[in-house]
Amino acid sequence: MLGVVGLWPAGYALNLALTTFDGAFSGLSNFTGSYNQGFLIPAFEHVGEFMLIWLTALIVMVIGLSLFMHTLAPRVSAAFRFMFYVPAAFAGSASVLLWLFMFQPGLSPWDFVLHALGYKTLGDTLISGNLPIIYALIAFWTGAGSWILVIHGALTNVPDEVLEAASLDGAGPLQTALRIKLPMIKKWVVYMLIVAFAGGTQLFAEPQLVSVANLGLVSPVWSPNTLATYLAFQYNNFNWAAAISIDLLVVAFVCAGVLVFRTRLFKAD
């Protein structure tokens, strides 16, 4: 009986995706149509650039910092973890508005950096070449903290005996980190990368708000999601929009499928 209740939330999402799919399923014409528009590939390229920066930052900074913080006194480490996690509270539109202030020369506490780069107006900062790194900065600011929590949690699960054995065998802190801890948390690093990748393809709030804030100097069709919403609500072309959202859903399904079936992170028995 309770299993039927379990069906509901899980089946809900699937059902919603499928009903839209039915509406859009007039052959593949919507998919090719949205593709031939010439905006979809650039949108994926933009997100690709964003992803390159964002995933590199996650690997280098999150893992590096987590490994280092794991060697600190527990209280110190906890204080830092909390500091990194607090910006998660600003996720969504608040972080974007806040960071727009951060990119506003004359107002930003980073004014000296913007000045050194030669930016005098917000429009200078938001030139299109800067957008991937700007979005990656915002995403890193709001998102890195929770990944640090996850990696830290994985590190605390490395058994003490293993670490003791390593130090008995003469491993220094660096060697322990790279040769013992890193391999033992490998699957969580993979988990982080896949989930962050799937989330990255969904980029919406940052490009949409920056586009609005900058009075049309920034393309409103920068990412696949903003392109899809632009098609849906500006041109009332729901079918193409649905096709793009199905493209994205397929990416998300593949990522989720890899995590569930190829890694041994989640158990179902």
């Binding site: 939330p9 608040a94 506490p109 049309g216």
Partner: protein, 335 residues
């Protein structure tokens, strides 16, 4: 391990104690990196807090003084009064809406997720494994991936701008089902349930009086995580309350149903005052807008206060729940 071997190894480990010059230099570098990253994370929040105490005269560009300077408490009160005066937006209504949407979503997530996880863990029925796999896939799909399909569906059902259009999706929290399942799927729980049944409990009584009281840690985790996710969601309410309503009334986007907005939309709306449409049409080369100050509804100091107030409930939840978000976030996944 032979004792001789151990003593040899011990010597090596003493030699590589982190007191040597090279390794303490390395540690110094690591500390420096940590400090720089910490500054990167803290300064925006520090700026936000300080900005709320300053006098933002007419626009963001007319700020006087260094960016990270304290204004006065008096000015903070003045900014507060401006924010709640109704001139900047309907912050009170938006906060109420956010509480309504997130709160109802959390109630649904808990009310369905905990029993569902319990059912999956304790009963063996046809299709159980499939259901579990579906739950796991669903929890790994980014929430944004379902926004557009949801909006299109709500549109076809005529449910746009109904509170349920956001409450029901917020109630979908498969991660909650999964951690409840993991929690109940433990020998300890099975033992207690078996004892309860042999003492004559019905299935319902076993759930109500044994499983439910046991589940408080999971319950708390589901509440906190779903609340944060719902409160900070921007894309979904944008699609439900802004995207359609605004193109329909093509005058200004402020004419949209601002009374329905949660705070995330309210915050975003601050940016749109200067923009002609929900999407500003891209200007092609030739028209050079030499803008560009950001166009906001109010001075930066008031906007900063708005940002802070809109996120304050989440910050409070984070501070209270800090300890077991850190452990609990993983306790469910790690077995």
């Amino acid at each position: 391990m032979r004792p001789v071997n151990v003593s040899v190894k011990l010597d090596v480990s003493v030699a590589s104690q982190p007191w040597s010059l090279a390794s303490s230099a390395k540690r110094l570098v690591l500390w420096a990196v940590l400090a720089v990253v910490a500054i990167f994370f803290v300064v925006p929040i520090l700026w936000l807090l300080l900005e709320t105490t300053r006098a933002g005269q007419t626009g963001p560009d007319t700020q006087a003084g260094a960016p990270l300077a304290f204004g006065s408490l008096h000015q903070l009160v003045a900014n507060w009064q401006v924010l709640f005066s109704g001139l900047v937006g309907q912050i009170g209504t938006w906060l109420e809406n956010s509480f309504l949407y997130s709160g109802s979503g959390v109630l649904i997530a808990v009310g369905l997720g905990i029993p569902a996880g319990y059912g999956l863990a304790t009963f063996d029925f046809f299709g159980r494994r499939l259901l579990l796999l579906t739950t796991m896939i669903a929890m790994l799909i980014p929430t944004n991936a379902l926004v557009l399909p949801l909006v299109l569906e709500a549109h076809s059902l005529g449910m746009l701008s109904s509170p349920f259009a956001v409450i029901l999706p917020y109630g979908l929290f498969p991660f909650g089902v999964y951690i409840a399942y993991l929690y109940f799927n433990a020998p300890r729980v099975f033992g207690l349930l078996a004892a309860a049944r042999s003492d004559g409990c019905s299935e319902w009584q076993a759930f109500r009086h044994v499983a439910l009281p046991l589940s408080t840690p999971v319950l708390g985790l589901v509440v906190v995580l779903d609340f944060i996710a719902s409160w900070t969601n921007y894309f979904l309410p944008w699609g439900m309350y802004l995207a359609f309503g605004c193109t329909a009334s093509s005058t200004t986007n402020i004419a949209c149903q601002t009374g329905r907005y949660p705070v995330t939309l309210g915050v975003a709306q601050q940016l749109m005052a200067g923009a002609p449409a929900p999407f500003a049409v891209p200007q092609l080369s030739g028209t050079v807008l030499s803008s560009v100050q950001m166009q906001t509804n109010a001075p930066a100091s008031v906007e900063a206060l708005l940002i802070f107030v809109s996120c304050a409930p989440v910050i409070i939840v984070l501070v209270i729940a800090q300890r077991w978000i850190a452990s609990g976030r993983l306790q469910g996944i790690f077995v």
